[in-house]
Symmetry: C2
Subunit: 428 residues, 2 copies
């Protein structure tokens, strides 16, 4: 254990944090709230464990009196109870958009909502998890930050670091979309393009974090991952609050590492346990790209084990071939009676356009995946046409412009004259 | 007067709207609240006139009890008092970001804030004005919408129309940034690329709106412009509310048509008159690109008349060579003791990067203009280093990626191995 880790053991967290331990999701072994993410006993992933009484005591009024961002849920999060401790762009409370035209287009008869996380500061849901990770990192004594990323996480880490003046080192596959590279580079981090897949990048950063050169660096999705991952719970909390403190019957969530899906499910469960929402049956559906669908394959084949794949396809932000939370996704989907589907690149492009044309929301390829999967699951009868549904758009179309730019463009080209407008048919 | 206009005269607006007339800003002639924007007497621009008693009766509590978007200010707006009447993506309440690192970088000793309107649904301040325009248009009996745009307005009009299922016809200069073209095209409007400048496009749409083919079409920045323009007031209201209901000492606002700057000033004045904020001296500063700086030129030369120019340069969203509100900008800046400055393309690029590196906000070229002008005015002593300042970022960097993409990028490129990382110097 390095000296920084030793100091963390005694650092503790504010008395008002409900977090008590890190607990192995495989074997249940417990650890103090330090910067570790894998169990020393069984190598299983660690998760934040809370004081059940503290969570149960949280009330709607307490949340509603908080700020208009994720920190209103601080009583349900491991860190950030004290505003001065937060390292955050203050994301969250993104729009929950009623999508009647989309519902009609795909044959849903009940209310359909799009939770639009492209409204976050760097235009993806990653701002939520990075805010948690960096706030935890500050409390644990770190003063620089790193990550392995398929793009959105890199954007968010670089932007957060710029706001507070930390050094950021961001590792990305070198074949990412140009807009995602630019939207990290503009913040001037150390931006390391790695000639390999995301899974290669992730393995590399796992090794780098053990090097002395990175001793004071928090790797947001590795050594502080347990805190980081809890940020995704806020998407679940917000959906419930924005529906008027109730759970929807069905949710459709994209799967990359799988963490987002499992945390939305966890958030719903916590709200029920705290008595903040009424218990109800809900079903969780997962969305993958056929270019990278290991969890879909395991689901379809009835397996419990997720076999890694080599990703291809345009939905790069979902291209994690060895998803850390794959087995937990299978658990949540099967337990709630949901399903997982996967769609190809043409369906993804059509999903982006369908979402845009019916809601005014320009989602990234991951959003196209999720909308296309929603459409497919409705057509197949897996999603109940008569039950309220929430679908997640987790990122911004401008970041994956290349996916659709060859498909859409000006419908008319004219000279600046009435005559030219008439010749183009614009005057009827 | 067409039959639609005749009907509008009798349509009226809800009893709870404080708007009473359209009034000529030149000669004071009054008109009913219909779809006209130029005075029949003198061709001057029309502006919404309010019932002074109704505005004066508005309270902080009334606003604070409203929704977390521009409609919380409905008691101060001409339309949208009834939620069911709104045609809106519900923009607004965008972050007011404390920018200590930017302040330090440019030598400001007092609090500096960035009002970040890239957080709006289509990532520019135009969502505010389009929401007002389309809400007015619906009340006036229109069911389709058009605009002339330098890009952001087109994006917002197309997205709003997509959400409600209206036909949109969007006219843009054909040489716009590819991302701005895409971010309209994806919503599937009639997207008309015009081989000419914005001013050419604007003249063309002025003529088109008189054609029978467009009789039931609202042109957001032409025949419903008086309502449209009022949407920009919400930026001023929000700044005051987010500062804890007080006015800042200095604001720096980009100038395209000039409407935004004059409406922020108008909003501050209304809040003082209503007793919602205390009266105080404040100074309004304007920012232009040297590629299109007619208002700056008039200011620098002490002229009252703004001579049109042919725009050049990368700040395309500000490239309006014949700014409709130019003279009113000069009035507001001179009356408050402010100033106007202009910056070249290199300064604009540096402004984008400075904003990003110190705040985590990736602004578009217009944001780069405003930051660069802020820096210049501080260096020249025109802006008081010891007085609180608010600067407006009105759009999103991803939409003008080409401005900086040749300047930034990966700092390292490696193989996925420790050895390669070491050779690249990442391990110290």
């Amino acid at each position: 254990m390095t000296s920084l880790l030793a100091a963390q053991t005694n650092a503790g967290h504010g008395a008002s944090s409900p977090a008590r331990v890190l607990r192995c999701r495989n074997c249940g072994a417990e650890y103090p709230l330090i910067a570790v993410h894998a169990c020393a006993e069984c190598f299983g992933p660690l998760e934040v464990g809370y004081d059940a009484d503290a969570l149960a005591a949280v009330t709607r009024a307490q949340i509603e009196s908080g700020p208009n961002n994720i920190w209103r849920y601080a009583p349900l999060l491991p860190v950030g109870q004290n505003p001065d401790d937060r390292v955050s762009l203050n994301p969250g409370l993104t729009p929950l958009v009623r999508a009647d035209r989309l519902a009609e287009a795909i044959g849903l008869n009940a209310p359909l909502w799009v939770k639009d996380d492209s409204a976050n500061p760097t235009h993806s849901f990653k701002d939520r998890v990075v805010s948690l990770a960096l706030t935890a990192a500050k409390g644990l004594g770190y003063n620089s930050v790193a990550c392995a990323s398929t793009g959105n996480l890199a954007n968010s880490v670089a932007a957060h670091a710029a706001r507070v003046g930390w050094q950021a080192t961001v590792f990305i596959p070198s074949d990412l979309e140009p807009s995602k590279i630019l939207a990290s580079a503009v913040y001037n981090p150390r931006l390391v393009a790695v000639d390999g897949s995301y899974d290669d990048v992730n393995r590399l950063t796992s090794e780098l974090q053990e090097d002395d050169a990175f001793e004071s660096t928090a790797f947001v999705n590795q050594n502080v991952r347990p805190y980081y991952a809890e940020g995704s719970k806020t998407l679940g909390y917000e959906v419930a609050e924005q529906l008027g403190w109730r759970l929807p019957a069905q949710v459709v969530v994209p799967i990359a590492s799988g963490s987002l899906l499992t945390k939305v499910d966890k958030a719903f469960g916590e709200l029920v346990k705290a008595g903040i929402v009424d218990e109800r049956a809900y079903r969780v559906f997962g969305a993958q790209s056929l270019g990278c669908s290991p969890v879909y394959t395991a689901f379809a084949e009835g397996q419990d084990v997720v076999r890694p794949v080599k990703p291809t396809g345009i939905a790069k932000s979902l291209n994690i071939g060895n998803p850390a939370d794959g087995p937990y996704v299978l658990d949540a989907v099967r337990r709630t009676g949901g399903a997982i589907a996967a769609v190809d690149d043409d369906e993804i492009r059509a999903g982006i356009r369908l979402l845009a044309e019916t809601t005014g929301i320009f989602g990234e390829t991951a959003g196209g995946v999720t909308i296309a999967v929603l459409k497919k699951l409705v057509a197949e009868g897996a999603i109940d046409r008569d039950a309220e549904t929430v679908v997640f758009n987790t990122g911004e179309g401008l970041k994956t412009a290349d996916a659709v730019e060859s498909q859409v463009g000006p419908t008319h080209r004219i000279e600046p004259s009435l005559r030219s407008a008439r010749e183009a048919g614009l005057l009827g």
